[in-house]
Symmetry: C2
Subunit: 399 residues, 2 copies
């Protein structure tokens, strides 16, 4: 059996997951939108400021009347912020005005309270004049209706939330996180925090796939674990495909006697085969109830590497997140790689370089916690000297 190349399988998987990129966008309440990705340009529905208003606590006047100071003016009233339709200004008089209050119609300048002397409730002495327009915020001087406020693809930061709130946007149209379900398989698996019997181990693939999916913008709607009983797996699969846009399985795809995923999915038209890579060689894929299923091998490192290589960028794109680009970094130490398979070794950025972390064993899940990249070593490379630049794929990180 000749193994498929990584590139070929990537293309195959991207085809299977094409529907993820056509999910209808979500109108998210602004209060929940921090960190979400805007799926279309947002223009302002209004002018900001919405109306001409005062930039200072002081007195609204016409500049002409206070050109010569000191000048004592009649005070016709007090305008607080939120005080409704502004009155008409009478030349030579003043209104006491607060920051943000609408300017009287015809007044063109605000004299800060610091530059005045109160005479009585009904009169004020202006000690310093100002040019027309000073301390007045003109309508639309921040943004006008129809102008671009937030660009498609923007991750909403606090400053965007503030601007959207300011123009009165109660909701914002965002990319819809693809819904992901995870089914791990293996009779030996127990959940963290429970007691193990001899031969059992803790399931790390459920938490790993769920957090990988989340870290790349997915909404994890179901995490379940199957025994090696095909009826149990079928039941979990039926539920998963009813709630998710994409289902991951781990384990049960290899050459053992109890390969529940392979045995259940093959009659449903799934493709199982080897990809010329290590770890993560055995890969399966299917479409069940119109939902794509990616079946990864059960070793924890194999599962995580499979996600990074085949699923990550598809999920990110569906969620509106930018791709994570590979880098080239020189090796801090020599390494060897087996021929004929593309190797994804664990590495860690170190200064400008990258150092290999741990051995190749696909069970080395604790050591993988110290890695932050995969070293992507081509199939035909078997030895690399220290200092050789290699392609490096950053591991998924909290986004």
């Amino acid at each position: 059996m000749s193994a498929r190349s990584v590139e070929d399988h990537q293309e195959h998987v991207s085809g299977l997951l094409a529907a993820l990129h056509t999910l209808a966008p979500t109108a998210l309440p602004l209060t929940e939108a921090l960190g979400s990705i805007v799926s279309a340009d947002v223009t302002s529905p209004v002018d900001l400021p919405l109306f001409r208003n005062s930039q200072m606590d002081g007195y609204a006047v016409d500049a002409e009347s206070v050109r010569n100071t000191p000048a004592t003016l009649a005070v016709r009233g007090v305008l607080a912020a939120g005080s409704g339709t502004p009155p008409k200004h009478l030349v030579g008089s003043a209104f006491r005005i607060m920051t943000g209050a609408p300017m009287p119609e015809g007044a063109d300048t605000v004299i800060p309270v610091e530059d005045t002397t109160g005479v009585s409730k009904h009169a004020v002495t202006i000690n310093r004049g100002r040019a027309a327009g000073e301390f007045v915020r003109e309508r639309g001087s921040d943004i006008t209706a129809g102008m671009l406020l937030v660009r498609e693809g923007t991750r909403l930061e606090p400053r965007h939330i503030a601007a959207l709130a300011a123009v009165g946007a109660a909701t914002v149209i965002t990319y819809t996180p693809p819904r992901v379900a995870v089914i791990t398989t293996g009779a030996e698996l127990k959940s963290a925090g429970t007691q193990l019997n001899p031969g059992e181990i803790y399931d790390s693939n459920g938490p790993a796939l769920a957090s990988l999916a989340r870290a790349n913008g997915a909404d994890v709607v179901s995490i379940a674990r199957s025994t090696d009983d095909p009826d149990v797996f079928r039941e979990l699969l039926s539920y998963a495909t009813s709630v998710a846009d994409l289902v991951f399985t781990s384990g049960g795809v290899s050459m053992g006697d109890f390969e529940v995923v392979k045995e259940t999915l093959q009659p449903l038209g799934a493709a199982f085969g080897h990809v010329a890579m290590q770890p993560g060689g055995p890969q399966g894929s299917a479409v069940v109830n119109e939902v794509p299923i990616l079946s990864f091998p059960g070793n924890p490192v194999s599962t995580m590497v499979s996600f990074e290589v085949f699923a990550r960028e598809n999920i990110r794109r569906a969620a509106g997140l930018p791709p994570i680009a590979s880098e080239r970094r020189p090796l801090t130490a020599a390494l060897r790689s087996i021929p004929g398979k593309r190797q994804f070794l664990r590495g860690r950025r170190s200064g400008d370089g990258v150092e290999p972390v741990s051995g190749t064993g696909s069970h080395l899940v604790a050591m993988m916690a110290w890695a932050d990249v995969l070293l992507d070593i081509p199939a035909d490379v078997t030895e690399l000297d220290a200092g050789t630049p290699v392609s490096v794929i950053p591991l998924s990180a909290w986004n």
Copy 2:
């Protein structure tokens, strides 16, 4: 009235918020811990692998018995993953063994199924021998009990979640997000999505402060808006101090006639005064019911800048997040700054430089959406040529 320097007020605020850094840590379920910050080193409670097991689907043998091949061995049974206490190996025989199954006691090698020919259920022909130890995962070869697994201060990425799950950790001890309450004030404020009357505007300070706090690791437990009625403000403050570790208010601190925050808090011992900065000059602080209150001015840009300059790093430290460091970048355009006040102008990174964004008006909330840094211009600087390096403070971003 002489204004306090930014540094002095930063020191004052940090003193007020000192208690934030002594919040008891939280034991978080691992399933909810992605992106949280570990508050103490985590060591592994177990060896990984937990027991000696097979790396392959194949046959468990002793290497000595298959040194000369082909060799036909009796098959004494099948060992699946999770199959319980392993049997004893008898020299010269084999067990069919699946990946992850415990090695029979005394067997030292696994022959992959690809290198065998099935003879019957009870016999197998080994076509290629292997060195002792090959395809066997030794107990503790990934990590041993007591070894460091995740370092204090680590943000939990998917790989850490996987490793913690693998060693059976159901919970993880994390920094406790400080609980923040936000009270905005201003009779003119309405919520986004509602209808405005003349003179009213949309409240952006509530959404801004809440998302700034969240983006820096806080848990926002209350967002409320007060009228200018002191009884309403007092009531909201009473609730806020009963649920939060830190309360932010916006507005009502300046020189107007309706300064509800100032009027309510001053009798409770609050300090109000000017800080020599723009925007954000008027600042207040208090401790009410043993909870620190920071009172920011009400202009949207002033509120956001006040948060960045005085609150951000305190919240980040409490939440276990690393500080956001200032950078130095050359200006892409000349700019002027008023003397006597430290200016925090909005800017945007552009290549290796930084370009000023918008004017200085503290109402320019829409334009601020295009900024990603504050230009930190010292009080005594009034003119800067293009190309001059300036200190640049990155704005809070989704973390």
